[in-house]
Subunit: 190 residues, 2 copies
């Protein structure tokens, strides 16, 4: 997606150690018009797998997941990291290491909103090591539902997310694929 690639090259910052800062339009400050177009493009790529629900993890996944769910006209569920008072014990839970916070987190979803007959499209901001995405896929499996696709905004291929997510039997799409961040560069595939 050319608009996204241009925006990453213009506003993204390589902080070293594979950390890409896109806080000015994706992760802390959000450009809602760009987000809407990202959601439309993700929806276009996955409409053929006929998803019934979008699943993401709080926090950074919520905006692209909402834009995608809106474009597809289906509900969105976001896995919580800390249970609010309204969350009862009818949940499934998985642990994973968060790349952006560099710590273990738990992801939990109420089984009220993720059902065995759901066809689930997993959406997240980054495909890096795929730890979050694999944990989300395990949540889907736990309730007996099916992952029909995985869509992310930015993929960092050098962190081997696709390889690590090879047990997910569904198409994986990213809107911008970063191939190299060595020596302060940001190299994006055509």
């Amino acid at each position: 997606m050319q608009e996204l690639k241009a925006r990453i090259l213009k506003d993204g910052r390589n902080l070293g150690k594979g950390i890409l800062k896109v806080d000015s339009f994706l992760n802390h400050q959000i450009d809602p018009m760009l987000m809407q177009r990202l959601g439309l493009e993700l929806a276009r790529r996955f409409v053929h797998v006929e998803p019934t629900k979008v699943l993401t993890a709080e926090t950074s996944g919520i905006a692209p997941a909402l834009a995608t769910a809106l474009a597809l006209g289906i509900p969105l569920v976001f896995a919580r990291k800390s249970p609010p008072l309204t969350m009862d014990f009818t949940i499934v839970k998985e642990s994973c290491r968060s790349r952006t916070h560099d710590k273990m987190v738990e992801l939990m979803v109420s089984t009220e909103y993720l059902r065995p007959d759901d066809r689930v499209l997993i959406i997240d901001d980054f495909l890096a090591t795929a730890q979050t995405i694999n944990a989300l896929a395990r949540l889907v499996n736990k309730v007996g539902a099916k992952v029909v696709g995985v869509g992310t905004v930015i993929e960092k291929v050098f962190e081997h997310g696709r390889e690590n997510a090879r047990e997910i039997d569904a198409p994986i799409e990213s809107l911008a694929v970063i191939t190299d961040m060595d020596d302060g560069r940001i190299v994006i595939a055509d």
Copy 2:
């Protein structure tokens, strides 16, 4: 907003002690089409105060804030509770008690994205005790910007949010105003 009121009465659950569960369409599972209409309505109510930025707090505020920011065509910033690796020391910070998690949380915003000349519209899912909203307003004041409005989806008047937020010199709007949750009821003002 009649559609929202009807949805709360249909799908909301009174868990006692003033806790309203709206996890099926607002807080855990999200109905994106409803969310878009909530954002349009909040935008309609605040367009005259000419906001330049929408500010919310992760996590539950993000969806209504994104829908509102999209309708207004302005950026959204969400205050973080735990700093990601990309967040450096150029931040402002405030503490408050989270009603839905019943614990103290810190809210932090990078001063890169909240500027002294910003006219800030604060958006959140709930107006309850107004602790989060007051903390967001203090963040705005800290950077020398101006709060021009506060918009929430659901207000629980019996938790005195408006009274507690009286130092905010800006209009406060809620799309559904709950007046009573005693004895398992959910009473919404006309």
